[in-house]
Symmetry: C2
Subunit: 279 residues, 2 copies
């Protein structure tokens, strides 16, 4: 199997490494608009060769679009049109707008919309990790809109990556990820800005920052070129969740202001119920 | 050296294990109001024996108060008064109120106010980990108020735990921990409540929850009996930081509402500066 990966960053690079190691792919072709990334990916052995996208497509069985979602949206229609038998999938964090973009594409059925639920705050090919997706979930959206053979190939690919598959519609997907991913990023960005704004003694932050702080602020290192398009595309769902989150924070604030520690205890006990979900 | 640990939970238990292993202590005496915790600590070999606190104090060189901070505040005055030559330290997350409580205590100088900056969302003796404090920071507050020999003994103990020591006043301490610890907990509690409130499909959260969500919500599992007293005692500093945090979240909200993605980019770039501090 020959796999082309467009965008050899954290996600694309990690997929490349794992698919090659597990012999799902015998050849990985890399496509990247950033010449330095392309060169680095070759140097690190993440891809076997670098080609312009049209040439890569003609030599491939599967094409994985692992670019920021605004680039994916721009490239996908033309990419699909140039396909004969190939299967194209994307791995982006929002799905609804993208799927609408290609609703009338003659090759729509060669496309599978997916979202593997893994990432770190790092980016670029040097951040790629083999085996990163093991035991994580991947979402496949609107599966009935893909050809059965295309769907099956993508399912097999994700199984080779060690992932379990969850199926939903693209609009359900966008709603759920607003809760479990996008809001966490906004909270981390805002928390980083809070600390940077108020705490002028940076050496003290560095010295004191313990596990708790690092884990909640870690996501604030995330890349704006990836995150702005996500926040734009999932704007409405995110605003809903963000409004609720601000309302929840205001409850904590009111408890402290009014010294209502009984209600504060109820709020914390309620939050502890997340243990049921996150073991 | 005989060390008494009052409150053999996550922190007290982890200190006990490490101090024994590294031969700083030849005997660890445990004191715990919770008989099940005491028994568990004996069974796990965390302590050598369990005694009532007065007996324990009379047999010890150092007494570590590792109880929730409201219990610490209640016990510390009497504990100090019963000391002859012993050194007492606490390990709580707030310092100013506690230090004021014992300002006029005749044995004030046998006390050293400390805060080792490590913890997890778990509690109880079964959560104790040997070597947990290695390469972490500990704070010692108001050091000039302790006898030089008491201070030196506590410093040596923290070095045996593998920690580096930061000195500050108790009021500086309380301000800094509001930023680097307490606000992260409130954010996590509120985020857990947001998700539990809005996302009724719990199986979906469980399936999709990826690294990002888990790390920001992890602290929401933290124990209210520990956290309510902390939030009470550091109420004013925390309210300051919480107000700023809500204001920062509102900036993200306004960007999304007004579709001002240029300013959104500035906010994220600013948040990325946390990289300078958290490597």
């Amino acid at each position: 199997m020959t796999v082309t990966i467009i965008g050899i960053g954290l996600i694309g690079g990690s997929m490349a490494l794992t698919l090659k190691e597990r012999k799902f792919a015998h050849t990985i072709i890399g496509v990247d608009a950033n010449a330095q990334h392309a060169e680095k990916a070759l140097e690190l052995g993440i891809v076997d060769k670098i080609l312009p996208w049209k040439e890569a497509v003609s030599q491939s069985d599967i094409i994985i679009l692992a670019t920021p979602i605004n680039v994916t949206e721009r490239m996908l229609p033309g990419l699909l049109e140039s396909c004969t038998h190939q299967v194209v999938l994307d791995v982006g964090s929002t799905k609804q707008t993208l799927c609408e973009t290609i609703n009338d594409n003659t090759n729509r059925k060669r496309f599978v919309a997916t979202h593997p639920m893994w990432g770190t705050e790092f980016s670029g090919p040097q951040a790629a990790i083999s085996g990163a997706f093991d035991q994580k979930a991947t979402v496949i959206c609107d599966r009935e809109k893909s050809d059965p053979d295309a769907l099956e190939l993508v399912e097999n690919m994700y199984r080779a990556l060690g992932m379990h598959i969850i199926y939903m519609t693209s609009s359900e997907h966008d709603l759920h990820v607003a809760y479990v991913s996008h809001i966490s990023h906004i909270t981390s960005f805002a928390l980083a800005n809070t600390v940077l704004e108020k705490e002028k003694e940076e050496d003290t932050i560095f010295g004191l920052a313990s596990g708790g702080f690092e884990s909640t602020v870690r996501l604030a290192k995330s890349n704006p070129s990836m995150w702005i398009p996500i926040l734009m595309q999932n704007r409405e769902n995110i605003l809903d969740v963000l409004n609720e989150h601000i309302a929840q924070l205001r409850k904590f604030k009111a408890c402290l202001e009014k010294e209502n520690y009984e209600y504060l205890g109820e709020l914390i006990n309620r939050a502890n119920e997340i243990r049921r979900i996150l073991k």
